[in-house]
């Protein structure tokens, strides 16, 4: 067997493991990303979407935010204009979190209709111009 063939085998091994790692990575860590409307449509046809880790991208309903700093509980509602979901989050929200910003809520929708968030990412919808990284 010449060096070229041996190298080809090594290359196939590397490319194969990259492919395998990527496929298994997506399978194990991929999360659905829904808007509230999409989520309500999915849940209407398939109850399997309850209790599944997902991200929901929406806007915080103005005036819906209640904070209880002592217990670090944050409750608010999110909407995409048609469907609303209440969200409950324990922890410190990011600086940019406030009324009517765009948020990405990471968590699970429980059958009681509340999204229990494990993480809340916010971006200032109107004018967030962060570090120009590129």
């Amino acid at each position: 067997m010449n060096a070229g063939t041996k190298f080809a085998i090594g290359a196939v091994l590397i490319v194969g493991s990259v492919g395998y790692l990527m496929a298994s990575g997506v399978k194990q860590t991929g999360q659905y990303y829904f808007t509230p409307s999409e989520l309500s449509q999915k849940i209407a046809v398939d109850r399997a979407f309850y209790n599944v880790g997902m991200k929901v991208g929406a806007r915080v309903v103005p005036g819906s935010v209640t904070r209880d700093l002592a217990t670090k509980t944050l409750r608010f509602q999110v909407t995409d204009g048609t469907v609303r979901y209440p969200v409950e989050f324990h922890g410190l929200p990011p600086d940019t979190f406030t009324d009517s910003v765009e948020v990405v809520v990471e968590g699970r929708l429980h059958p009681d209709g509340v999204i229990y968030a494990t993480d809340v990412l916010a971006k200032c919808g109107s004018r967030y111009e962060a570090v120009p990284k590129a």
């Binding site: 070229g4 190298f7 990575g25 999360q31 410190l92 600086d95 990284k133």
Partner: protein, 675 residues
Amino acid sequence: MTVLGNLALWTAFLVGGWGALAGLVGGLRARPDLQQSARHAVFAMCGALLVAVFSLEVALFRHDFNVEYVAAYTSRNLPIFYTWSALYAGQKGSLLFWATVLSMFGSLALALTPRRQRELLPYVAGVVSLVAAFFLSVMLFGGANPFQRLPYTPLDGSGLNPQLQNPGMVFHPPMLYLGYISITIPFAFAMAALLSKRLDTDWLVAIRKWTLLSWLFLSIGICLGMWWAYVELGWGGYWAWDPVENASLLPWLTMTAFLHSVMIQEKRGMLKKWNLALIIGSWLLSIFGTFITRSGVISSVHSFTQSNVGYFFLFFLLVAGTASFTLYATRLPLLAADTRLESMVSREASFLFNNLLFVGIAFSVLWGTLFPILSELVQGTKVTVGPPFFNQVNIPLGLALLGLTGIGPLIAWRRASLPNLQRQFAVPVTAGVFTVLVLLLAGMRDGYALVAIGLGGFVAATIVQEFARGTNARHRQYGEPYPLALGRLIARNRRRYGGYIVHTGIVMLFVAFSGMAFKTETEATLRPGESVSLRSPYGSTYTFTHLGISQYDALNRLVTAAAVEVRRDGKRIGMLNPEKRQHVDSFGRPTFQPSTEPSIMSLLREDLYGVLGGVVNGTEQAVFRFTINPLVWWVWYGGVIVALGGLVVMWPGGGGSPAARRSQAGYAVRLVGEK
């Protein structure tokens, strides 16, 4: 000043368009007059753009709030260096900055390139002008003109986003920009070589030098970005696999791959096609990064406001990608390899695997970044992947790469013999195994961390061995004292030993990254006098005691600060003072959301990171998050060493004659193209 600014933009755009035409036509038709004109066009464009930058800075410093850009990013009470850096804080200004820096790099490349590469220069001038003209067209026709005026004049501007008011903001974006922008120069040389069909060693030298410069800026920029995220954003980490971070990592990966594989082309005449593809790919990735940060197609925490500027970039990306790879394809027959791979156990083979790993990592990062779009196209449902995906894929690949960092430089070119392998690897392998045993005895059980630090020990030993052998050889041969021998060793073989210095920094980074596997944190609501304890991974216990809250006015903000006393195993070691800041304009009206200012105590082994979440209803009861981040300082040290190593490699004057370069390689291999 906006009249002057607009005039400068238009001048630069027209001159740039002419430069592109004159350079490409002048090169292809061999018309010296046009070639000369293209060179001058780049210089003229650079001058016009500098005038534009000057006009914008004057508007910024005069607080001319009638200019929309000035009103949007500055205010009367903004500290002066942030006023300066507002030049690139927003979309429009950053485009101007891009074009200006590109024209400066282009002028430098034209002025500094030696005479024997003259044939390439008209094409270089043409490509640089074309790219700069594109950026100018976005400003002039894409609604991103920084000199646009408002129909009224606000009394004060909105000020700069508080998260950007950090010293890192003054250095991080320019460095990253310098890296991003300067990739255009090696790309321009690659295009020039393809167009002129001069595919010998000359173009390779020019491309390598510029790629190295670009790589150095990008490395520094990425490290500064990590530092900025760590000290300013308050989530307690320095890398989140955010699309924008990924965008800066992608060209860095492909350029690093190129800087390794280019050595095989220099020494063995192989991989010509691959190397050119890497350069073209790196440049396209830099434009791609600019596109995703500005278009909003991928939701990122730090993207610019959505605008149609994104379409300009997408269009440019597609056209430029198609054009450059079509040209590349037509020149493939000229890029045949001079030699073949002789053995799997050779430096060539280990460099080839290194390249596959770099490109594999880049591909997986690109894939993960684009996955939401791809999955929506294919399945109709958007699926996102986050940090767990990137870690799961890239930790094993990164560790394999770390292993090759130790193997590659020590293994012989062409074909390594068994005695060669024993001589080179006996000590380092022992060192690696020993490191793992010590860690196991110390009680470390995390698999990846053990492998990372063990491999780190192995690579570090290979590097020490190389320095020791080289120094010893000089000491024996020339009778130089050891420190002098070491200094001369590095000075006379800058590429080789500078490379080892970079590798040392990389080892430190890997070890530091693995420290994050042992991060511990706690959140607590404390009244004054109450405390919370956290056990560090090294076994000591830290106690954080909340002493009280103070509030005061600073230049442009109201500050709420907490005083937290820190004790290690009962002994007082200092204070943390995390803050909440409410920024205000010069009339005392609040601007932006309150921002968090973490307080960090950096120790050699670990960082104590305190965040003030908020104060409960005006009392002194406060919510905190305390994090112990092991080994964070080693990330910054590692970054500094990588940069220093890069400087050593780049420092002019080293190497010199082909014979000297050959001796640097350490093996008697004829350089390609050398007679």
